[in-house]
């Protein structure tokens, strides 16, 4: 049994420490998920709070058919979809926000891709349609597998594969177009 499942069972029985452990375990990923999708920190914090509020109320209905990580991302997905349908939401992340974020892993320059190219990719992702963008976020940013992504979004795994393949093709075409424009500008 996964440790998350044990903590979940204890939390269902009213164990506050187990619930706190679940929160500390999943809070950064959920907040990052919302922060990358939402334009402001306030929206991200609000959606994170809503997500965990739903987690506590829906905890007794968790039956362990998927991992707790997948289950909580499914709740976050529904919260985000509801928020998207609200009329007062703002646009997606501006490019400036991505420039302010510290890059993870090795330096992009070391990977023969400069920082400008990375920002271009992240900005291009934000230009994708909502479904494909969320799929990219869950699969790549949040690190869910294809099956977990499909469960979180409530769609088939084949649909996830299709969306990823289409999104990557779209990204490649956009990056190539932007590079061409830059090169022509330099010339």
């Amino acid at each position: 049994m996964d440790r998350s499942d044990e903590l979940c069972e204890k939390a269902v029985q009213g164990d506050y420490q187990a619930a706190n452990a679940l929160l500390e375990q999943n809070y950064p990923a959920i907040y990052s998920f919302f922060r990358r999708l939402c334009p402001t920190e306030a929206d991200s914090a609000d959606l994170t709070q809503k997500t965990f509020a739903k987690v506590w109320t829906s905890l007794p209905s968790f039956q362990g058919r998927s991992s707790f990580r997948t289950w909580i991302h499914g709740i976050a997905h529904h919260v985000y979809v509801d928020w998207q349908r609200s009329p007062n939401r703002l646009a997606s992340q501006p490019d400036e926000w991505w420039l302010s974020c510290p890059a993870a892993g090795p330096n992009p320059a070391d990977l023969t891709i400069d920082r400008d190219a990375a920002n271009t990719v992240y900005a291009a992702i934000d230009q994708l349609d909502d479904a494909s963008r969320e799929t990219i976020h869950l699969h790549y940013y949040q690190g869910l597998t294809l099956q977990e992504t499909a469960q979180a979004q409530g769609i088939a795994t084949s649909t996830v594969k299709y969306r990823i393949r289409a999104a990557l093709a779209e990204l490649r075409s956009r990056i190539l177009t932007r590079n061409d424009l830059k090169q022509s500008a330099k010339v």
Partner: protein, 267 residues
């Protein structure tokens, strides 16, 4: 840019600064559901478990009983109705038949009185007959008793002789009466021979019933005005018919001739 490079870039997204205040706030907002305690399952009692089903069954049974009673009542009423209808039809037919009959003739009250009187008379005779039968049975019983004692044959002979005597008296009286009727047409003189008024008598009245001999005319041609003169005589029973038509039993007396030559009864 190759797909591998693009995926590598996507798998290493820029880190997001996670606010610690939000974590504290969410931690304070943890509201776990209250632990649910399973209530001990107490098996309900037999009555409590089966009471709804039993109530429904009892209700259904009561309905069936009511239906049966109603059906029985309806059947009884139908039979009663059929019987009354049949009786009504019979009554109607009788009334129709009586109405078609001719009116009965009125009964005469006097005839009714006669019939009632006759009925009473018959009833009286019937009761008298019963008493006579009872007396007869008594006499027969007495007779049998006497016969058992020994003098039966003498008694019966006497009775039979007495009956023959009475019958002879009756014949002789008829004989004298016929002679007087004949004398009315022949100058009040009685006939001197039986052949003269034979047609006025039947055969048996001319003979004694015991001896079958004709009566002896002892005073032929005697006038009927003298009642003391004997006219006919039965020597067997010593009975004599006088000229006035009366008959006397002489018993031990005899007919004797008077001083004027006329027969008279010995005194």
């Amino acid at each position: 840019m190759k797909t591998e490079e693009l995926e590598c870039l996507l798998r290493n997204p820029p880190k997001v600064k996670v606010p610690a205040e939000l974590l504290t706030q969410i931690r304070q907002e943890i509201s776990l559901p209250r632990p649910t305690f399973e209530r001990p399952t107490v098996s309900p009692s037999f009555m409590r478990r089966w009471l709804p089903a039993m109530a429904a069954a009892i209700w259904l049974f009561a309905c069936l009983v009511i239906l049966a009673v109603q059906a029985n009542t309806i059947r009884t009423l139908r039979h009663e109705w059929a019987r009354l209808a049949e009786a009504e039809n019979t009554k109607h037919a009788t009334t129709t038949t009586l109405s078609t009959l001719p009116a009965a003739s009125p009964i005469d009250p006097t005839e009714m009185e006669k019939l009632r009187a006759l009925e009473q008379q018959l009833q009286a005779e019937l009761s008298q007959l019963e008493s006579l039968q009872a007396g007869n049975r008594k006499l027969v019983a007495e007779l049998h008793a006497r016969a058992g004692a020994g003098g039966d044959s003498d008694f019966f002979e006497k009775a039979a002789a007495k009956a023959r005597l009475m019958k002879c008296v009756s014949h002789l009286k008829q004989f004298a009466l016929a002679a007087r009727i004949w004398s009315n047409d022949h100058g009040d003189v009685l006939p001197s021979d039986t052949s003269e008024f034979r047609d006025l008598l039947k055969g048996p009245e001319l003979l004694c019933p015991e001896t079958n001999l004709p009566y002896e005319i002892v005073s032929p041609g005697a006038p009927e005005t003298d009642p003391s003169v004997p006219y006919a005589h039965c020597s067997k029973h010593n009975v004599v018919a006088l000229c006035d038509g009366s008959v006397q039993q002489l018993g031990k007396r005899k007919l004797i001739s008077g001083p004027d030559g006329k027969l008279t009864i010995e005194r």
